[in-house]
Subunit: 346 residues, 4 copies
Amino acid sequence: MPEMMKAVIKPERAPGLRLTSAPLPQYGPTDVLVKVRAASICGTDLHIYHWDKWAQGRIQPPVIVGHEVCGDVVARGEMVAEPNLGDFVSLESHVICNTCQYCRTGRGHICERTRLIGVDRDGGFAEYIAIPAQNAWVNPPDLPVEIAVLQENFGNAVHTAFATDVTAKKVLVTGCGPVGVMCIAVVKAAGARSIYATDVSEYRLRMAREAGAALAVNPKTQDVVETVRAATDGEGVDVLLEMSGAPSAIEQGFTLLKPGGEAALLGVAPGPFNFDYNLDIVFKAAKVYGISGRKLWETWYQSRGLVRARAVDLSPLVTHRFKLEEYDEAFEVMASGESGKVVLFP
Amino acid sequence: MPEMMKAVIKPERAPGLRLTSAPLPQYGPTDVLVKVRAASICGTDLHIYHWDKWAQGRIQPPVIVGHEVCGDVVARGEMVAEPNLGDFVSLESHVICNTCQYCRTGRGHICERTRLIGVDRDGGFAEYIAIPAQNAWVNPPDLPVEIAVLQENFGNAVHTAFATDVTAKKVLVTGCGPVGVMCIAVVKAAGARSIYATDVSEYRLRMAREAGAALAVNPKTQDVVETVRAATDGEGVDVLLEMSGAPSAIEQGFTLLKPGGEAALLGVAPGPFNFDYNLDIVFKAAKVYGISGRKLWETWYQSRGLVRARAVDLSPLVTHRFKLEEYDEAFEVMASGESGKVVLFP
Amino acid sequence: MPEMMKAVIKPERAPGLRLTSAPLPQYGPTDVLVKVRAASICGTDLHIYHWDKWAQGRIQPPVIVGHEVCGDVVARGEMVAEPNLGDFVSLESHVICNTCQYCRTGRGHICERTRLIGVDRDGGFAEYIAIPAQNAWVNPPDLPVEIAVLQENFGNAVHTAFATDVTAKKVLVTGCGPVGVMCIAVVKAAGARSIYATDVSEYRLRMAREAGAALAVNPKTQDVVETVRAATDGEGVDVLLEMSGAPSAIEQGFTLLKPGGEAALLGVAPGPFNFDYNLDIVFKAAKVYGISGRKLWETWYQSRGLVRARAVDLSPLVTHRFKLEEYDEAFEVMASGESGKVVLFP
Amino acid sequence: MPEMMKAVIKPERAPGLRLTSAPLPQYGPTDVLVKVRAASICGTDLHIYHWDKWAQGRIQPPVIVGHEVCGDVVARGEMVAEPNLGDFVSLESHVICNTCQYCRTGRGHICERTRLIGVDRDGGFAEYIAIPAQNAWVNPPDLPVEIAVLQENFGNAVHTAFATDVTAKKVLVTGCGPVGVMCIAVVKAAGARSIYATDVSEYRLRMAREAGAALAVNPKTQDVVETVRAATDGEGVDVLLEMSGAPSAIEQGFTLLKPGGEAALLGVAPGPFNFDYNLDIVFKAAKVYGISGRKLWETWYQSRGLVRARAVDLSPLVTHRFKLEEYDEAFEVMASGESGKVVLFP
C-alpha cells in the first residue's frame, strides 16, 4: 500500500476545496481501511464547499470531505470479525458511540456523540478511508459501483418514506433533488395509490415523473395547492414527504395534508420561520416525524431489500461522472440544479 | 320492479342448493336495495353447499346463499344519504351493529353481533339483495364487473397482507386459493423483496407464480422447509401469510419464520391440533395476528387505492363464469381446485 | 315534560351571554333527550363569552352554549336501541356524520362534517339537550355528578397523554389549566418516571403538584429550560404534552424534548408564529402529534378504565359550583386563572 | 485480588450442583470483572439443578451456574470506556454478538449467536464473574442489593407487560411465580383497569394479591374461566400475560381473551400440545407476541424508570436469603413453590 494518497480537503475556513496529497489513513483495532471506488456529492458537501453559515459553525479544517462512499476492504483491525478483506462495501457515514442511551436502544441514528465522516472526521473524497468496521455494509460483489455509492443517500429516502405508511395512499413529495427523486421511487415501489411532486427545477420535475410521480408541479408557474387538490378530488394527500426545506413548500405541503395525515420531514429550513402551527398540526391531528439520517442498520436492510427485489432502479439517478481531480467542475454541475447524482472516481 | 326474483337457496338441512323464486327483499329505512350484477363463489359457500359440520352449526335454512356481490342501487330507505340511486356498488358482507364496544372503537370487523349475508341472513346469489346502506361501497361507474365482484374477497387478502409489514421483506404465502393468490399480488404491489408460495394444486401454484411468487412449492413433491430455506440463504422469511388452514402448512410456515418475524393467519384449521407453541411463537419471539374479515372500512379504502393505482391486477383471478341457473356446475368447478374465482351472473 | 326551559345563550354577535327561556329541544328518530344534571365551563366557552376572533368566525347566534354535560335520558327517538330511558349519561360533544372517510375508518374525531354542541348547534347550559343517541355515554348510576360532567374534558387529557408512550418515561406538561392538570393525573396513573409542569398561575402550579408533578415551574419567575434540564440530569424529557398554546411554552417544551422524543399538542396557539422547525422537529427526529378532541369512542373506554380503576381521582378538579342562573359569576371565576373546573347546575 | 474463588458449578451430566474452588475468571479487552454481591435463583437454574431434558440438551459441564447477578466492577479491559471501576452494576445475562442482523437492528434479545451466562458460559453463583462491559448496567450506588439483583428477572416481567398495552385495560396474568408477580406489579404501575391472576399455589396467589391483583384464582379449586368472566361482566380480558407455560392455563387464558385482544407469552410449555388455533387466535383476531428475554437495552431503561419512580416496589419479592454455600437449601426452597425470589450471597 502507498504511504500517500490523493484527497480533496477543506483546507481552511473559506469557500472552496483543494486537491492535496495526504498520508494513508490510520485504522484502529475495530476499524477497516477501504480503498475508495467511488464517492458521490451530497447537498451537505455543497454547504461545505460554499462555506455557508452551517459549515462555518461545524467544520474544523483541514478535513477530507465526502461521506457517500463505496470501495473495497483492503485492511482491517485485529478485532474485526467482519467484513472480510476484499469485501465490496458501502459506508454508513455516521460513526456512532454504541454506548449512549440512543445507541443502546436501537436508535443509533440519533446517537448523542455521532461523528460524520467528511464533516467531523476525514471522509471519502480520497483514495482511501479508515472507518469502524460496523460502518461498512457488505454489498454483493457484482453490485454496480454507481448503485453501491448511492446506498447512503438512498437510505435517507428510504428512511423518510418508511417513517410513514404509503402503500395504497396518496403521497406528496416536496423537493425533487436526488433524495426526493429516490423517495418517489421508493414510494412507487411500495405501492402508493398516486404520487405528486413539486420542485422549482424543470430538470428535476422531469426526473420525478420518470421515477413515478403522476403529477410534478413547478410552484414558479403553477398553483401547487390548487393543482394537487384538483388531482385528488379536493381531498389532498394522506402523506407528505418534505425534502426541500423551503418554507413555502412546507406550507403548501401541510396545507395539502389531509386530517390525520402523516408528514415526514427531511428537508432543512434556512432557519426558524412563521409556521401555521394550529392549522398545520394541531387542528389537522397530523402526525409529524423529523427524519435524521438512516436507521442504523434497519434502513440498510430495507434498502437492500428494495434493490434486490429490483423494486427500485437507482441507475437513472446518476447523471454525471468525474475524476476526483475534476471536483471543481463536479461541484459546479451539482450546484446548477440541472443534475441527478454526481459521482467522483478517485 | 318485479315482485318475485330468482334466487339460489339452501332449502333444508342437507347437502346441495336449489334455484327458487323468492319475493323481492324488503328494505328498511337505513337499507338499500341492490340489483345484483354478479356474485362470486367463496370457500364458505362450498362449506354450505356440502353441508359440513361448520355449516350444520351455523346455517338456518331456508336462506339465500352468496356474500361476494356487486350491483346497482335501485331503491333506498328514507334515512339513507348515500349511496345514491344508480350507484354501482360492491357489498361488504358483514352487517354490524354499530353499537358494541368493537364497532364503537373502529373495529367493526370483530363486532360481537355481526351477521353475514348469505349465511346469517339472505345473500346475493339472487337478482336482488337488501342490505344496510353502509355496507354498499360505491365503485367508479366504469369499474369492470368482474373486478367489482372480487372486492369483498380481495379485502381478505389486503387485510391479511397489511396486518404485517411486507415492503422490502421476504414473505411466505402458504395456501394459493384465490385469496392466497390475491395476497401474493398485494405483497408484490407493496414492494416485497421476494415472495414464496406453497399449495398442493399445480394449477394454483401456476397462478401464484403469475401473481408474483419467485418460488411456488408443492409439498406433495418437494420439501417446503428445505427449499425455501435454500432460497433465502438459510434464513427463512420475515413474514408468514397463512391462507390454507392446513396444520402441515402452518407448521412449515412457522418453522420458516425468522426470529422476531410476523405471521398473519387467515386460514381456518380443521380443528385443534398439536402445535409447537414454544418453537413457533415463544422462543421465536414471533408476532402473530389472527385475521377476521376485513377492517370496516379501512381495508376497503386500501383495496381501492391498490386497484386505482393499477398496482394490483385482479382480472386474471376470474377463470370461470356461469349463469346463476348453472350454480351446480359452478360449484363443481370451484370444488375441483382447478380454478381461480368462479363468478355467477343472475 | 315542560314546554319551555331555562337556557344560557349567545344571543347576538357581541360579548356576553344571556339567560333565557327556550322551547324544549326537539329530537329525531336516532336522538335522545337528556335532562341536564350538570354542565362545566370550558376554555372554548370563554372564547364565546368574550366574543374573540375565533368565536366571531365560528358562532352563529342565537345558540345555547355549553358542551361539557351530563344528565339523564328522559326520551328517545323511535330507532334508538341504547341508551335506555333513565340512563345517566355523559355527552360526547362532537356530533359526527358516520359516513365520511374518517368516520368510516374509526377516526370520527376528525370527521369532516363534525358539529360541536354549544358551538355549531345547541348545547347544554340548559335544562334539556337533544343529541344523537351515540353521543350519550352511559355512566354507572352511582358515578358522582361532578365526575360525570368532567368526562368530556377529561377525554382531551386522556387522548393527549395516550397519543404518546409515557409509562416509565420523563414527561413535561406545559400548561396547567384543568386539562393540563388532568393530563398530569393520567400520566401519573400510567406510571411515568417523573412529571414536570409549567404554568404562569401559582394556583394552577399548586394543582399540578397535587396531581403528581414532581416539579412545577413558573416561567415568570424561573428559567424553565434550565430548571427542568437540571432535574433531568441534563437530558430533558422523553415526552412533551403541550396544553398551553403559548409560543414561549411551546418553544421551551421542544427545547427540552430529547432526540427521538414524542410531543402531543393540544394547546391552540394565538396564530402562526416563528417556529424553530429544524431544531424542534427535523434535527431532533421528534415525533409530533396534533390532538383533536377525543377518539370516538376509544378515549371514552380508556377514560372509564382509569376512573373505574381509581387510578385517577378527578374530584379535586372541581373547585367552584354555581347555579345556571349565576353563569356570569361562574365565567368570571373561570377567567381569573384561579380555579379548577367550574360547574353549573340547572 | 485472589487467584481462586468460591463457585457453584454443574460438575457433570447429572442432577445436583457442587461448591468448588475455581480460578478467578479472565477478562478480555472489552470485558469487565465484577465482584458479585448477590445472585438470585431463576426457574432456569432449577432445570439445570434437576438436570431435566432441556438441561441435558443445552448444558456442557463443567460450568458455573447463575445468571441473575449484581456486584461491583473491580477490573476492566483496556478498551472499556464504561462502566467505571467501582460502579455498582446489575448484569444482563445474554451475551450478544453485536454483528448479526438482529443485533444490528436493535433486536439483540433475539441475537442468533446469543450466549447465556450460567448456561452457555460461566455465570454468577461465584465470587467473581467476567462479562462484556456492555452487559453491565450501572445502578445508583445506593440501590438496595436485593433490588439490584432482581433487575434481570424483573426485565422479563417488564418486557412481557410492555409488549402489550395495559393502561386502562383488563389484564389476566396466568402463572404467579416471581416473574408473574412482578408482572402484576408492573401492570398495576401502568394503570391497568383491573388485574386477574391464576396459579396453583396459594402462597403465590397471596403474593399476587399483594402486588395488585383484584382477583387471584386457583384452578385446582375454582373454575377460572367462569370466575374471571363473572368478574369482567361476561366480557373477558383485553390482555393476557402468560407466565406459566401450562397448557391448561394457556387454554384458559386464550378463552378469556376478548376479540381483538393482545397476548404476550413468556411461559414455556412442556412441549407441543393440542391447541385451539382457530378459536384462540384466528377467529378471535388476537394479537399474540412471543417474549424472549429482555429488549437490550430498552427494557433496562424502562425498568429503571419504574424503579426510580417508585411505581413498582420489588422489595416484597425477596422472601429468602442464603449464603452461597447453602445453595442446596436455597434450591429446595425455590423448588417448593412456597417462595418469592431466593437470593444467594457469596
